[in-house]
């Protein structure tokens, strides 16, 4: 399955930058409202402290000190993995099918990682010390604290992805300069500093190596490493401990990452009439990945459940029994299974494919993975090895303050894409140049003069 988008003209590629619609304005306004709602609640949290959340102490009080904030943090980092999967697929493995969505995925990585960082900021009791306490302690604490490992690896992932974007954007901006808005000239000048066409091959090689570095680091050592280790290394909570958490976290990350890309790419295609730029074939391919990663997700859940209930140590058995007795857990698993079944069904019978259905199921997957992550954190804390406290397990329902952060973060991601798409092309120029190793025997419609006037 290959996709040829080489016939699409540059004007189509730059449509987000050149158009200005009322729908865009509404979208920006909606994003700002979402952020505003969160800021309103976050102001209260700063004013009164974390008491405005429904978090509490585990122990003599029956609460959970970690809740939705940490669950959402893990979830956002998981979504961030989409960027590198797609870029690596294109650059390292030559899977040019996904070239049209590679940059969208990279941008999603930046946005999602920012949101992950945001959730850490709002999770801590003293956000004002997040730099002044963390940086001076780093040289001595990185040797011990899994949280410091997280900070380190997430910073590295963020920076590498950023450099990747900054280097790849030079090629596009240089060639599209004439068609880009003049008022942003200083931005483009800065982004293409020192550019010469001779550098293309050098840069191409450099970014190959960045992709190589990230593809090892992000999945295996970030979401399959330091993040699950935050929990898996602790002996105090039965439901968290153990080696399966790494692979399990990774499977969840990959599943939500592909869902995230499907949603954002579909949104761009819908908004800018990019049927030829991001053809169905891209989404059909992404659907297969979604199905495959969902399968891994479900399989690793099975591993945990079966080892947790057969003849497990009593505390683990208890934690697992509670987990499988929680209806919400099955909702989460059900949402992922639904997407998996649909993905495989469309692979067997292509006529079943429908982009709206895929987007809907992807949203379901994101809901499911978020629920699973929050349950993992919360239920893990509610079933500690030491279970003499009558208050434990208590109950935890995220407060309005906590839920608003979720809304705000989604608003931030939306605003990020709305802004960035006005400045740089969110699809690589390579995607329409056809000089990137894509096959030419494509059967996909690539009409150059297309009926894409919807947006004008």
């Amino acid at each position: 399955m290959s996709v040829d988008t080489s016939g699409v003209d540059r004007e189509t590629l730059l449509r987000p930058i050149h158009t200005r619609t009322s729908r865009y304005t509404i979208a920006v306004a909606a994003a700002l409202v979402a952020i505003g709602v969160w800021l309103f609640f976050y102001y209260q949290q700063l004013e009164h402290g974390l008491i405005v959340t429904n978090l509490a102490d585990w122990g003599s009080g029956g609460g959970v000190p970690w809740g939705l904030y940490i669950g959402a943090f893990i979830w956002w980092v998981g979504i961030a993995h989409g960027g590198i999967i797609l870029s690596a697929a294109v650059r390292l493995l030559g899977m040019d099918t996904y070239q049209p969505v590679a940059r969208i995925a990279e941008l999603l990585t930046i946005a999602a990682l920012s949101c992950a960082g945001l959730f850490i900021l709002i999770h801590v009791g003293r956000p004002d010390r997040l730099v002044t306490s963390v940086l001076p302690a780093w040289p001595t604490r990185v040797q011990w604290s899994p949280l410091m490992w997280d900070v380190t690896v997430i910073t590295a992932y963020f920076v590498l992805t950023g450099v990747y974007l900054l280097l790849t954007i030079r090629y596009d901006l240089h060639r599209l300069r004439a068609q880009l808005p003049d008022r942003l000239e200083p931005v483009y000048a800065a982004l293409t500093v020192g550019y010469s066409e001779r550098e293309d091959q050098v840069i191409e090689r450099m970014v190959w190596w960045i992709a190589f570095a990230i593809i090892i680091m992000a999945p295996l050592l970030l979401h399959g490493g330091v993040i699950p280790w935050l929990f898996a290394l602790l002996p105090s909570m039965a439901g968290w401990h153990g080696g399966v958490q790494g692979p399990s976290f990774l499977s969840i990350a990959l599943t939500s990452a592909v869902s995230g890309i499907i949603i954002v790419a579909a949104a761009f295609r819908y908004a800018y009439g990019w049927e030829e730029l991001i053809p169905d074939a891209v989404f059909r391919g992404l659907a297969k990945w979604l199905g495959f990663f969902s399968l891994l997700f479900v399989w690793l859940q099975l591993q945990q459940v079966i080892t947790g209930i057969f003849a497990a140590p009593t505390t683990l058995q208890h934690a697992t029994e509670v987990k499988i007795a929680t209806p919400l857990y099955w909702v989460a698993i059900g949402l992922v299974i639904l997407a998996m079944v649909y993905a495989f069904a469309t692979a067997l019978k292509p006529s079943l494919f429908s982009l709206p259905a895929l987007v809907g199921l992807s949203i379901g997957v994101l809901v499911g993975t978020l629920v699973e992550k929050v349950l993992f954190v919360v239920e893990g804390l509610m079933h500690a090895h030491f279970d003499l406290y009558s208050g434990v397990p208590g109950a935890y329902t995220p407060s309005a303050v906590e839920l608003s952060a979720l809304v705000g973060a989604i608003g931030i991601v939306a605003l990020f894409f709305l802004t960035v798409s006005k400045v740089i092309p969110v699809v690589e120029l390579h995607a329409i140049e056809g000089d990137h190793g894509s096959s030419v025997d494509a059967t996909t419609a690539t009409a150059e003069t297309s009926n894409t006037g919807g947006e004008r």
Partner: protein
């Protein structure tokens, strides 16, 4: 069972059967009083090492300890042999009995080495494994506890804690595996030598104080991520979710700033983590010389259940209490001389978690089937809050309401 059988068993073990036979014979002589145990030890120490293929030099430290103390009886208060000896003394075991009951003794040694001798183990960031250092700890005699909650009240008042923030917490529990209807567990911070909270803290706010092993939180550095709370197997951490009940203006610096000038004492300010400090202000002499080596909970306890002191000092109140209590509960061994010396059960909480706690409990350990029940004195009746969640939920509502207004 004859010698042949014994030899066969020894040979099955795969090690030097001759050595085993000779050891067994000599051990008989020790038992009969014909051979001093010192000599017995000296005779086989080397051979055991040789048999198991180790270069003696690798054992220098080990040997120095053993030889220096067991053989020459050198007066080294920190040595292992002395600890062995004091073990024998504290537990009312004679040296001979210690030998004869090697297994039990070793177990007991483990207990003592973990608490008393726990200078042997490491302090968080301290790097200190020096027995000369003070290592504050407790022996809590649960058999003496009557669940009056005076310790909780005293702690609450001394440290200006917010409601429900029970640095000291007394459980009353029922246990199918114990005779009494009401059993107690008195839970402070365990001030673990190998504390998970210290390890996981990203900023080094939660730390082990070098000089005395106290596990403290630097309120000036803590970012309030609550990782320590999540990592603690005992649930002793209490985050300051909102404004503390007692404002800082009402608390003297003597309570808050320790001898190093770090803000680690009294209740935490908003947004950072707090927990039992073993009354660090008292230990630093800031409450007066006479308060050093005491805690508020210990003082309040009229049942002689809580014993605070330097676990490295055999003469410290906790160690003295332990030995005296063992003596008072001597086993009737007139008929079965192989019975243990005393009938006292002692344990450390969740010791299998590898935390190396500095609190030793006398009494029965709650089983997995233990469940907390209402005690003889309710928390409410002494003005305490059991489940802090209720306070926090109210606080959340009050705050939200306040903003609306």
């Amino acid at each position: 069972m004859d010698d042949e059988e014994m030899r066969r068993l020894l040979e099955q073990s795969g090690y030097d059967a001759d050595l085993g036979m000779r050891m067994a014979e000599d051990a008989q002589r020790v038992a009969a009083g014909e051979l001093s145990e010192t000599k017995f030890y000296g005779r086989y120490h080397e051979e055991l090492l040789a048999e198991f293929g180790q270069d003696d030099r690798e054992f220098n430290e080990l040997r120095d300890d053993l030889d220096g103390e067991v053989v020459t009886e050198a007066d080294d208060p920190d040595g292992l042999a002395d600890r062995l000896a004091s073990l024998a003394d504290t537990e009312g075991l004679s040296r001979r009995e210690l030998m004869a009951k090697g297994g039990a003794a070793a177990m007991a040694l483990g207990v003592l080495a973990g608490s008393g001798g726990s200078a042997t183990s490491v302090g968080g960031d301290s790097g200190g494994d020096d027995d000369d250092r003070t290592r504050w700890g407790m022996v809590i005699n649960l058999n003496n506890c009557d669940g009056c909650l005076a310790c909780m009240v005293a702690c609450d008042q001394e440290h200006n804690l917010s409601r429900g923030s029970n640095w000291m917490y007394v459980f009353t529990y029922e246990d199918d595996y114990q005779e009494d209807d009401q059993n107690f567990l008195v839970r402070t911070c365990q001030h673990c030598t190998d504390s998970p909270c210290t390890k996981v803290c990203p900023v080094g706010a939660r730390h082990t104080r070098d000089e005395d092993g106290l596990v403290l939180t630097d309120y000036d550095i803590c970012i309030g991520c609550r990782y320590c709370e999540v990592s603690c197997p005992y649930g002793v951490n209490y985050f300051q979710w909102g404004e503390p009940d007692v404002p800082e203006s009402e608390i003297n610096d003597e309570h808050q700033i320790d001898s190093r000038g770090r803000w680690v004492g009294s209740r935490p300010p908003e947004g950072v983590m707090g927990k039992c400090t073993f009354c660090v202000d008292r230990q630093d002499g800031q409450m007066g010389e006479e308060k050093i080596g005491t805690t508020a909970c210990e003082e309040a306890c009229s049942m002689d259940a809580i014993h605070f002191g330097d676990m490295n000092d055999p003469e410290s109140p906790p160690n003295q209490h332990l030995s005296a209590y063992f003596d008072d509960n001597e086993n009737d061994r007139s008929e079965w001389e192989n019975r243990s010396e005393h009938t006292v059960s002692s344990f450390k909480l969740l010791e299998e978690r590898g935390t190396d706690p500095n609190v030793t409990f006398v009494g029965n350990e709650p089983s997995q089937h233990a469940r907390q029940v209402e005690g003889p004195v309710t928390y409410e009746s002494v003005g305490l809050v059991d489940n802090r969640k209720e306070v926090l939920d109210n606080g959340a509502m009050a705050s939200a309401g306040g903003d609306d207004a």
